[in-house]
């Protein structure tokens, strides 16, 4: 019995201290990951040249657009990748090898002036999500945090089961909600901690498995696994004999007839204008998006001259591990999903983040009771800046994005620097204010000012105010602006009402 208690005590200590370490990193990752769920929409919103309606697919003129794009890229004939317009990328994108993308407006068939548009915000949020903008070190830290999250999940479930067995009633408010929210979010936690561990750390530390599997011959996992699961559908050389190609739209139609369930997202050209020309249409299957997500795209390869089907990748002739990986990554990236699934991810992300913070409050409350010294409890201040201070800091970044002119030198550094400065300020302010609840209140006011300003600055810079995007039916831009405006007003309203919300009195004195 004594030993059992000892184990439980140790498990609780491990869960608490590893939890404190993991919460800070995983909270940041969850916060920015939730924003990254909307990456395609944010990328469009931050590119003024892409402020136009989503085109009806039947109106796309591939022949004119691809010819113009090829001309812009100096007419390459091999390794040309074309991104087909979709809900998440409204323009047709074209690149040659690793060149920069050239974008074409599908309404006007003109090349878009994207010179100063770097998709800074969406890329920055994504980087904060997977490596807290600290490159390899950050990615490694996130990987370790994800493994710790798996441990916390297993130990948390174990502790919960023990409590259930003992029929113990949890009276602590924070603990009860931390437990309930975490259990509710269990599938979400498992998906993100496991994929986070694999992407963050396991892929780069997989050499021992490659060494063991190859009996000591090879240590580079990628070298021996990639050719098996990511096979190249085109392995043919140019014949150096000129040939006339079928039109792109004709080839597209042939691909659709021969593979009707393929939802085409990219088109690749190989040995173009040659006797051995190949055109590859890639995409996910309409009836199986989970097994054909970004790591396991299906394809159909046509001869560019005759339109004859050269090969066709189906679920039956692709590797089973590719299917498993596709499903594994699907729930993390939700690449092909529409706004509804992304909104569900937003809600689950918020619930999970609240669950994490409540877990931290279990510990803070215990510490404060023990030491009776709330003012100098630095963890309490850091957690306020981390959990709430990050919100106005992010809103400030959006505001700066539209405030600074696009041709400003080192524009990216100014904006990202602004984010870190604001975030640091929130920490100083949390320490300055005796009561964290007062600091939080001011953060929500700041957030409201920044968000509402962002909407008007965006309108002013692009000449596309909320009412203009509504009139012109540019719905994605309209909804983002509307969402930011509602969030800003909601934030101000919440700040005004904060003192009257009984639930929040629990935070008093922290």
């Amino acid at each position: 019995m004594i030993l059992e208690n000892k184990y439980i005590k140790s498990l609780k200590i491990s869960h608490t201290y590893l939890g404190i370490f993991a919460i800070f990193f995983f909270y940041i990752s969850t916060f920015f990951g939730t924003l990254t769920v909307f990456k395609p929409y944010i990328a469009t919103w931050e590119s003024p040249s892409k402020h136009f309606q989503v085109i009806d697919k039947s109106k796309i003129n591939l022949d004119i657009m691809i010819t113009k794009g090829l001309k812009e890229l100096n007419n390459p004939t091999n390794n040309v990748t074309i991104t087909y317009p979709s809900l998440t990328e409204k323009a047709l994108g074209m690149r040659y090898g690793f060149s920069e993308n050239v974008y074409i407006n599908p309404h006007t068939n003109n090349v878009l002036p994207t010179n100063h548009e770097s998709q800074l915000l969406s890329n920055f949020f994504n980087k904060m999500h997977y490596d807290i903008n600290m490159s390899k070190v950050g990615q490694f830290l996130m990987g370790i945090t994800s493994i710790v999250m798996i441990f916390l999940t297993i130990s948390g479930i174990y502790l919960w089961l023990l409590n259930r067995k003992k029929r113990a009633v949890i009276s602590n408010f924070w603990l009860r909600w931390h437990k309930d929210l975490s259990l509710l979010m269990l599938p979400y936690i498992i998906v993100f901690s496991l994929t986070g561990a694999v992407l963050g750390i396991m892929l780069s530390l997989s050499s021992p498995f490659a060494y063991s599997a190859s009996n000591g011959i090879e240590t580079n996992m990628s070298k021996i696994v990639r050719p098996i699961i990511f096979s190249n559908p085109v392995k043919i050389k140019s014949e150096n004999v000129k040939a006339t190609m079928l039109s792109y739209s004709r080839l597209y139609d042939i691909a659709k007839i021969n593979y009707p369930i393929l939802n085409i997202s990219t088109i690749s050209l190989f040995n173009w204008n040659d006797k051995n020309a190949r055109i590859v249409f890639r995409g996910n299957l309409i009836n199986n998006r989970i097994l054909t997500s970004r790591t396991n795209r299906m394809n159909i390869v046509l001869n560019g001259e005759t339109g004859e089907v050269v090969s066709k990748a189906t679920l039956d002739n692709t590797h089973k591990v590719s299917h498993a990986l596709s499903a594994f990554y699907f729930f993390h990236f939700i690449t092909d999903e529409g706004i509804l699934v992304r909104l569900i991810y937003l809600i689950t992300g918020i619930i999970f983040a609240i669950g994490l913070v409540f877990g931290l409050f279990v510990w803070i409350e215990k510490k404060i009771k023990k030491e009776n010294n709330s003012y100098f409890n630095i963890i309490s201040k850091i957690s306020t800046a981390f959990s709430i201070g990050i919100i106005p800091a992010t809103a400030f970044t959006l505001c700066l994005y539209w405030l600074f002119p696009f041709n400003l030198e080192n524009r990216d550094s100014w904006i990202i620097g602004g984010f870190y400065s604001m975030w640091s300020f929130t920490f100083c302010y949390s320490v300055y204010k005796k009561d964290s609840i007062d600091a939080a209140k001011d953060f929500f006011y700041l957030n409201a000012i920044f968000l509402i300003s962002t909407v008007f600055l965006h309108g002013n810079t692009t000449n596309l105010f909320l009412w203009n995007s509504f009139e012109q039916s540019i719905w994605d831009i309209f909804y983002i602006d509307l969402f930011l405006l509602i969030l800003g007003i909601g934030s101000a309203f919440f700040a005004i009402k904060m003192n009257k919300i009984k639930f929040l009195n629990k935070f008093k004195g922290y």
Binding site: I147, I154, S193, M202, P208, Y211, L325
Partner: protein, 97 residues
């Protein structure tokens, strides 16, 4: 081994200390890697079948082996669990090649 060290290793404490925790942590990482290296070696199939499951399962295994090592009566018992498993797994990896 002096008396003091023996005391630390064999003492049944009311709670698990820093040394015990550290052994569990490092031991869990090493053991999980060794277990999945054995899997990668003996799993029939191509390299994708041998390696990808190991990459995915190892993070889960680290938590499980960590708990197994943590739930030892004494530090010495935790060390024995770790060393014996390491030797056995190393034999499976190296000797039967």
């Amino acid at each position: 081994m002096n008396l003091n060290t023996q005391k630390i290793l064999k003492k049944r404490k009311p709670h698990i200390g820093f040394l015990h925790g550290s052994i569990s942590l490092i031991g869990a990482i090493i053991l999980s890697y060794l277990i999945m290296m054995v899997f990668s070696k003996y799993m029939p199939g191509d390299y994708a079948v041998k390696i990808i499951p190991s990459i995915i399962i190892t993070p889960i295994l680290i938590s499980i082996t960590g708990l197994w090592l943590l739930f030892s009566h004494t530090i010495i018992l935790s060390l024995i669990k770790f060393l014996v498993s390491t030797i056995l797994l190393s034999i499976l990896i190296k000797v039967f090649s």
